[in-house]
Symmetry: C2
Subunit: 428 residues, 2 copies
């Protein structure tokens, strides 16, 4: 069919997930396509924070660790996230940032792998992985006397990575660390297939779910993964810098040990023992005192994703997401001839975002700024990519239509040539 | 003089710091003597959080990293804390938890010490240091092939530690790690004297300022310390689990490197380079994305301490704090014969808290609960200590009087024998 704006309006009217948009407070005058970077504000947050601040902190003070169960918050929110990623209650904990959690998980995995075979001293990852993953892996490797080996996975190689990992893993590999959905291109890898490849070579598999959790179906048990980390502030809508999470397969619970031994990872923190005894399982991946205000906001964000459960849950969100991204690609192909789709065209190989680049001569940074000035919020990633995220909880089909209308207007008019759009801000 | 309640009321009326209490929202019906564990709620927090949530997150969304300078928040709040601990702008950064920050700092310090001499592989700390410090040190030591040596410092040995450190440091010592004010006893060490002892032995000095910053004068430059970490949620009033901070002496800025290499510690995070290049100086101690909501609350908390600057700043706060703790000790001596003061009696050797224990037969846990039931909030620390913190920003002399009245009533009546007070909550 030939798409029309009216068809998009009708699609939204019939969308069973459509009412979930009311769970968010969104700006009236902008189309927000950056939920892959910072999820929108759940409408419940101001009220919840008001309660946590005024009553719990202000009035009940230190007793709130017990009476308002602040101490259980990392587990309670963890159990909620577990439902979104195919994990069981008690296996997933909210703590620290994704970077710090990755350091814990990689350290634990390296130690486990070496216990099996001292020759396993290599972390294998992807050259274009999100930089923090590579930085953390390099830091952990140096500290542990291990090394980091980077492989290339071609964007067109399919969701199994086309052998990029298979050819790299051998009996020196301790851990394979990959991000399921690439932050730059939106390319999505097959969790189960690549995990099996790693295991076949005797290596452990660590997944970064930063751009997956809450947007695409993830089943960590079905994939038989070993460890996972993820981000609270993207599709989980937890707010700027919300804490991240750690999942560990229960088969490692007895043996795995991570080196960032803080008091809340102790089996009995309030015994104030001089010696560290890790709490059982993933609880031992906690370290210091968690930021309660940010955690309370994260719980509201996770609740927005769980609100989709009566409508089919993450599977339904995923169906809508692929419809949104496919529509965007169709419309861009149709109306923006200078633009090239960087993301995989096969929906099964694509996360919840579409990345574009352009013919030589178009400054993609300036193009993103020109679009922002017209009320369409995407973002730019060096060196030449414009990213558009389609969070299925609050993005409408009509938003996709209107966004491409404005993109076409920017490319047709070459509005991006305006010098004010070339001026770079610190965060781009 | 013989103290009276009326004298306390008059003291409060004449206290130039008295008006700062209005910067807080406090419960009407309780006397809060636990600001050493969780600082009280600054009255500005609800309004600031409302703005950060509703406008910055909700309306301005991802652009707030630039337009509302979220990216600069760790440095801006860090520069404010720097004014409280004798550090210069740019030397102190707010990031992660105290536990995680200690792991970064100890790792960096161990590496620096080994560069000087490979034989320096020992971290020296105190057996009764706050457990998280010991747990982190043990974890870092194991990872780095170093070891942890614990020394005893007697409570009565004076603010220089009475040789406990001096006798332990030698040419195997890489780092001395101490907490300035002991969490359990309130004993305060002399920053400059012990730092000089560590340096004399060729070791680096790391201070944990968790129970110091905001309550006692700290001059890191005068003490010539090497690194410091501290906590945001005690005397800095940053809210439950507020992020901590790291300070590094500028002489280490060029060489020091910490292994938890997250993207926000990169010299140019938004270049998305595959290779890690640490940001200069203490900026390289950042790792992942900071929890902005908790950070915004922390800024309000730090501002309450800075509000004392026109009245003499931390020196004036300290003068009031020692007056409060001295009054408490005098009154307890006078009215609670079964209680024994654990904290040093010399004010110069004591932080902003007083810890009590009791004759055999009195259950101090139950005693604390009995006091709480009468509206006096202190806390218990295993095995037998009741702690009372006197945050000078919001504690009044009349609060001290009333607290001791109720303590005397509890001890006189043996109210702590009520079985409901013996029931332990998870956080004690």
């Amino acid at each position: 069919m030939r798409w029309t704006r009216q068809a998009c309006v009708e699609f939204d009217a019939e969308d069973v997930l459509g009412e979930l948009r009311a769970l968010f407070t969104l700006p009236d005058d902008r189309i927000y396509l950056d939920g892959n970077s910072l999820g929108a504000l759940p409408a419940a947050v101001p009220h919840v924070l008001q309660r946590v601040v005024a009553q719990e902190w202000g009035q009940d003070l230190i007793s709130s660790w017990n009476t308002h169960e602040w101490l259980q918050l990392p587990q309670r929110v963890g159990d909620k996230i577990a439902r979104l990623v195919g994990a069981a209650p008690g296996e997933l904990i909210v703590t620290d940032s994704t970077s710090i959690n990755l350091a814990k998980v990689l350290s634990a995995a390296l130690a486990l792998a070496r216990d099996r075979s001292p020759a396993r001293t290599e972390i294998v990852s992807e050259r274009t992985n999100f930089p923090t993953d590579l930085y953390v892996a390099e830091g952990v490797a140096r500290l542990a006397g291990a090394s980091l080996r980077l492989v290339d996975i071609d964007i067109d190689s399919g969701s199994d990575g086309g052998g990029g990992v298979r050819n790299a893993v051998d009996d020196h590999t301790a851990v394979v660390l990959l991000t399921q959905v690439d932050y730059r291109t939106g390319r999505m890898l097959d969790l189960a297939e690549i995990t099996a490849t790693a295991h076949h070579a005797g290596a452990l598999m660590v997944w970064d779910l930063a751009h997956s959790a809450g947007a695409v179906p993830v089943d960590l048990h079905e994939a038989d993964a070993d460890f996972a980390v993820g981000c609270g502030y993207k599709y989980l809508n937890g707010g700027p810098g919300a804490p991240g999470f750690v999942w560990m397969h229960p088969r490692h619970a007895a043996e795995a040990r991570q080196p960032l031994q803080g008091w809340l990872g102790h089996a009995d923190p309030f015994a104030f023992d001089a010696d560290y005894r890790p709490a059982p399982g993933v609880l031992g991946f906690q370290a210091g005192t968690p930021p309660i205000l940010s955690l309370a906001a994260l719980e509201c964000g996770v609740d927005t994703v769980l609100a989709a459960e009566p409508f089919g849950g993450v599977a339904a969100l995923r169906a809508k997401s692929t419809a949104l991204t496919s529509l965007f690609i169709d419309l861009v192909d149709d109306r923006c001839p200078g633009m090239q789709v960087v993301s995989p065209r096969a929906a099964v190989e694509r996360g919840s975002q579409v990345s574009l680049t352009a013919d030589v001569g178009i400054d993609m940074y300036a193009l993103v700024q020109a679009l922002i000035s017209r009320g369409v919020i995407g973002d730019f990633r060096a060196p030449d990519v414009a990213r558009f995220g389609f969070a299925p909880l609050y993005t409408r089909f009509v938003d996709v239509w209107d966004a491409v209308e404005r993109l076409a207007a920017v490319t047709d008019s070459e509005a991006w040539r305006d010098p004010r759009f070339a001026q770079r801000a610190p965060v781009t």
